[in-house]
Point group: C2
Chain length 338, copies 2
């Protein structure tokens, strides 16, 4: 049977709620429960289950692996927020604000380990009942290779992201590689692992990986656009943040390449200005982006990536009808309002 | 054939040197190479190889798993040093001093992932050549359960260690449980995984685990003693550090229980004093420890633990002659000079 997105989303949220942690030391596990209770779209486990469901019906078998991705993703948010000295995540104080820096470091480490535990062991996170996974060990080992490569790649991406902050010569290619590592890899890995755990043909698993990469890139480019053209409701946070901190987004990198001398002078002034009214800088840079039409360039790129993802999905060797839920999810992800 | 300790140590050091990292991003991998180049006794991989060698000769097969423990151990040192705001590790500046806090966080995360990669994948850390491990998947999955339980337990131990800093009522039982988690688990896991990867009988694997727990506890109690009675050369760092920061060691906890009212007054004064000459506090507390004979209590406990470990080794169902290298290692570990 084919599950619907909402059936799977409900299943995932219910399973996340029923994750059991050790009671002791409470100071280590309370922040983990807190972070996982803040919600989120749970896109990564959803993608894994949908990919698995292309081939097999017993999606519950791989719930631990699906949760592993969500726990891993939230670990990256926790440590990234600490490194960025962010205040708020999903409308709530970050762990290092609610507790302290050391708690954020150690609870994050424990989450990364929990993610590996879920990826490699059976069912419950109740420590007493841990035992080896019952998934076909060959499938599980292949999935682990995919997972390891994604988890390490996300660190690479975060490192590049940090290094780009102090560079003004980041190229579009470098930027695309950074967001591929930081955002796409985990989506690609979610889809590929879903296929691998179902014993899908390698060609299919690779197509699904490619889809994840492209959807991830498109999603991040949308985020870049939303920061400039979105509003609080559609974006989920206050827009303009990227502009205020001169983040080298797809838009800024392209703008720096396409400006005429007069525009370049204006843009550089805004970038170097230390004292300014936030709204004025946001409006001025947005106005420049409009003049150079970087929004259109970015939207074209998003549409190309989405079309390429659709083609890759076409190439997956299962009946079209089985793909409808995945296709619907991708379309939904690509249709965020501006 | 039975390898000697020094043959295996040479092999381990050579393999650590030949670990290959991605060239890019350099800022992420340079600190990892740095940390692993600082040396150390490489006790954990050595124990794993010696345990494996009780049953099988092809110790090179499990080199990646042995290195995984060393990489994991160094990850914990890296993050612990950051949390403790330590300055120096093995005579060299800590990563967060040589680079910065964010580098220590992210490089540590990457090391934890590399440890899992080595535990679950084949041979090289050259990303291009990763592929699933060729070790019997059943053995590997059992070893993973052991590894996961140790890696998470070490986080628990670190959390307790942090919490104990601000508590004056830590009991001896709580302290022993903390050092079991923080120090013993990884030694126990090293020996058990060595046995598991060789397909040893479960009873043997469990005996080896128990040995690691006891040796780890004894080793940490020795460390507590060395801080008070050792010198720079035998201890590897300046003694007295535990006394200066009122660390609740086996000695202090026992002293607090055994003091008479007059001694209690003196000890409490030293603990609460904010301004003091380091040498004076160290000498005064050492003098109190001598009066109460906590050194003897601690040494008795170490000897008991060591004897229990020897008994457990006796119970391992392989010829005595095969155990000689392991036995020699334990004896060496227990004979650190004061």
């Amino acid at each position: 049977m084919n599950y619907t997105q909402s059936e799977l989303s409900n299943l995932i949220n219910q399973e996340i709620k029923s994750l059991k942690y050790s009671d002791s030391p409470y100071g280590l596990y309370a922040p983990i429960e807190y972070v996982l209770s803040l919600g989120g779209k749970r896109i990564r486990p959803l993608m894994m289950l949908l990919a698995y469901n292309l081939y097999k019906d017993d999606v519950k078998t791989i719930i631990p692996q699906a949760l592993a991705l969500e726990v891993y993703h939230n670990f990256t948010l926790l440590h990234d927020d600490l490194m960025d000295k962010a205040e708020v995540r999903r409308g709530n104080p970050c762990v290092h604000k609610k507790w302290d820096d050391n708690t954020a470091i150690l609870s994050g480490d424990a989450m990364l380990i929990l993610a590996y535990r879920l990826m490699t062991e059976n069912r419950t996170v109740d420590q007493v009942e841990y035992h080896p996974s019952t998934i076909n060990p060959q499938y599980l080992n292949e999935a682990l290779v995919t997972f390891n490569s994604a988890t390490l790649g996300v660190c690479d991406g975060q490192q590049f992201d940090i290094e780009f902050e102090t560079r003004m010569d980041v190229t579009e290619a470098e930027y695309m590689e950074m967001i591929r590592l930081k955002t796409s890899l985990l989506l690609a890995c979610a889809l590929k692992i879903g296929a691998q755990l179902a014993g899908a043909p390698t060609a299919d698993a690779n197509h699904l990986y490619n889809i994840g990469e492209k959807i991830g890139l498109a999603f991040q480019l949308q985020d870049d656009l939303l920061d400039v053209y979105g509003d609080f409701e559609t974006f989920g946070k206050k827009p303009g943040g990227d502009i205020l901190c001169n983040k080298k987004t797809f838009l800024l990198i392209n703008a720096l390449n396409l400006v005429n001398p007069e525009q370049k002078k204006q843009l550089t002034e805004w970038i170097n200005k230390e004292n300014f009214v936030a709204e004025e800088k946001i409006n001025a840079v947005r106005e420049l982006y409009n003049e150079i039409k970087v929004r259109e360039i970015c939207e074209r790129r998003i549409n190309e990536l989405f079309a390429e993802a659709q083609e890759e999905l076409q190439a997956v060797a299962v009946e079209e009808q089985k793909k409808s839920e995945l296709r619907a999810l991708f379309t939904k992800l690509m249709r965020r309002k501006f």
